[in-house]
Symmetry: C2
Subunit: 353 residues, 2 copies
């Protein structure tokens, strides 16, 4: 194992970025100068999003492998660009690293970032690397592009629009509960074998989420442009309320339409947790939540992996869920509060928002 | 004083970004969606740079006021864009905040960032805000623009080019030494009054550096495009070696040509430090180091605040300083190693690189 200080900042960066080849025409110069240089064309707009991830706030290295962490750190940024109906193109990666990390550790982390970039066609163009007194710090900024008339904001939902969500919800949150449970059970037992059999999907959703590029492609192929869209990082309930607030509308979603995987349901049962609460408020699913005009109903139904869960209303009706027995329950944003002290956090929470 | 958790992430962001009005045509949508949206024109390239600043690695809140810290955090990014001969346009600001900070603290920090943006004509377009277990974390990414034929890289220096530097060197480093000395002297004395009389320039250079936009403008007005350029953040010696390595050249600089302020010299004397070592290796000056063709000599001499300190050579001559008595001393990159543990750091170091 090699100490990072033996390489120095520039030696480490050389090693991490060795062999990187830009794949996007817009990337002119990547790592190695005061700034990276891109060229974006007049017929497209440029998108930028950023995420800051801090050890023991957003991730726990007891059970998160560094390569997975790198992969996820990149993908959550791509997800934000897709949620604008754009294409991620470049990222910068800043790392703060405390002395307990070796060069090999950072290479693992970076290999996950590089793998995500390779799979999603994104170039690493810059960054900053520093010592940290405070565990691992990861700050990634992602640039993307989209033709101006294709960009989808959060504020375009209109009454009677259909509310759609991709994939299923609550699994990443249940994966986190499972990992936390096994962490507690393993304390002080070096030979402990965590019990994940039959729950692999939950673990994968928590540790290795994907951004829904496939849904963006399917919508484009079907000729559907959503009226509003965002990714589900803090929880469905909170995200729905964002769209409704910014669009100045209300909404109704049906409890029995919320897509939930079988493993999620089994895990909720085991933990004696309310399944719908977990699906509404558990974060980190990185699914797409979007609205489409009622007229797109037939086309939307044909897209695999997308479910219509409700509809947009006039604002005075507020935001509510209609339960299986027909009762209306107001939605509340119970998602993770990233500014609360995690130790004292009572709500459901998602470590990476 | 208000606890940050009482506002929540979105409440805090609303408060910090209240009243922000974009001033750049390229900024289409700022804070409030999954990503910000910009539009860059076909006749210009886009630049991106990023800096990660960690408490007690890059700054010490014992003597750095939060507003100054915010100002400097933004300006160091602008400096990187000017060092490409570009214009900074947008930044994203990510903050990790531990529970000892109140809303008012973060407002002070942000007011410094906003002031810098206002003075330099830069828009705040996004960010991320999170709890931190680990003191204050600041990650800023800056986007800029430049016509393609104006961009200056580090690799364009050619033998016989003149080496130029703006302003003076070593003052920010001496300011840091002064602040550290007064911190030690004040320990345990609540009524301690730090002694900064006659050394205000050093304090200002350390706490409130400026990016040399004026030099970029003067060069443009004189019709001079540097062949290579970067900003002096890690120390002149280290930066010269970057330019020579990337340009595949050597260099000679003259000890007696290195610009040093009177206060810097007095402070070095007081601390019994070698003045030229401090000027060569002390970081954070944020001056511009650049090379110009020999034919620009007459024009360069007319630009106020720019000094010719040496010339570029063939690579086999290496990088050296010629002392007052005519001796050649090889340059060494003794700048701050941002990956060494600060507590055990023996070299001169600059807290913000």
């Amino acid at each position: 194992m090699s100490e990072i200080s033996s390489l120095g900042e520039f030696g480490l960066i050389d090693r991490l970025t060795d062999g990187l080849k830009p794949v996007n025409d817009s990337t002119l110069r990547a790592v190695g100068d005061d700034a990276a240089v891109m060229h974006y064309h007049d017929d497209e707009d440029t998108l930028v999003t950023t995420d800051l991830l801090l050890e023991n706030v957003h991730f726990d290295l007891t059970y998160v492998p560094l390569k997975h962490l790198g992969y996820k750190s990149a993908v959550v940024n791509f997800s934000d660009i897709y949620a604008m109906n754009g294409t991620p193109r470049q990222i910068t990666v800043s790392l703060g690293v405390s002395s307990r990390f070796t060069v090999e550790h950072i290479e693992q982390l970076y290999s996950g970032i590089r793998l995500a970039c390779e799979l999603y066609g994104v170039d690493i163009v810059g960054g900053d690397t520093s010592a940290s007194h405070q565990g691992l710090v990861i700050s990634i900024t992602c640039l993307g592009t989209a033709p101006r008339d294709k960009i989808v904001y959060r504020d375009g939902a209109r009454p009677t629009d259909l509310i759609c969500v991709s994939g299923d919800l609550g699994a990443a949150y249940m994966g986190l509960q499972l990992l936390e449970r096994e962490k507690v059970a393993s304390a002080g037992q070096p030979d402990f074998e965590p019990q994940f059999a039959g729950k692999e999907y939950l673990i994968e959703r928590q540790l290795k989420p994907e951004a829904r590029r496939d849904i963006i492609a399917a919508l484009a192929a079907a000729g559907i442009k959503p009226t509003a869209m965002m990714d589900v990082s803090d929880g469905l309930s909170s995200e729905l309320m964002h769209i409704c607030k910014q669009s100045k509308t209300g909404c109704r979603v049906y409890e029995d339409r919320i897509p939930i995987d079988y493993q999620t349901a089994v895990m909720a049962e085991e933990l004696n947790m309310n399944l719908v609460t977990a699906a509404l408020n558990g974060g980190e699913d990185y699914e797409l939540l979007f609205t489409v005009p009622l007229s797109a109903h037939e086309e939307i139904k044909k897209i695999e992996g997308v479910k219509v869960i409700g509809y947009v209303t006039e604002p005075d009706l507020g935001c509510a869920m209609i339960t299986r027995d027909g009762t209306e329950i107001p939605l509340r944003a119970q998602g993770w509060n990233p500014l609360a002290e995690p130790d004292t956090e009572k709500d459901l929470h998602s470590p990476i928002k």
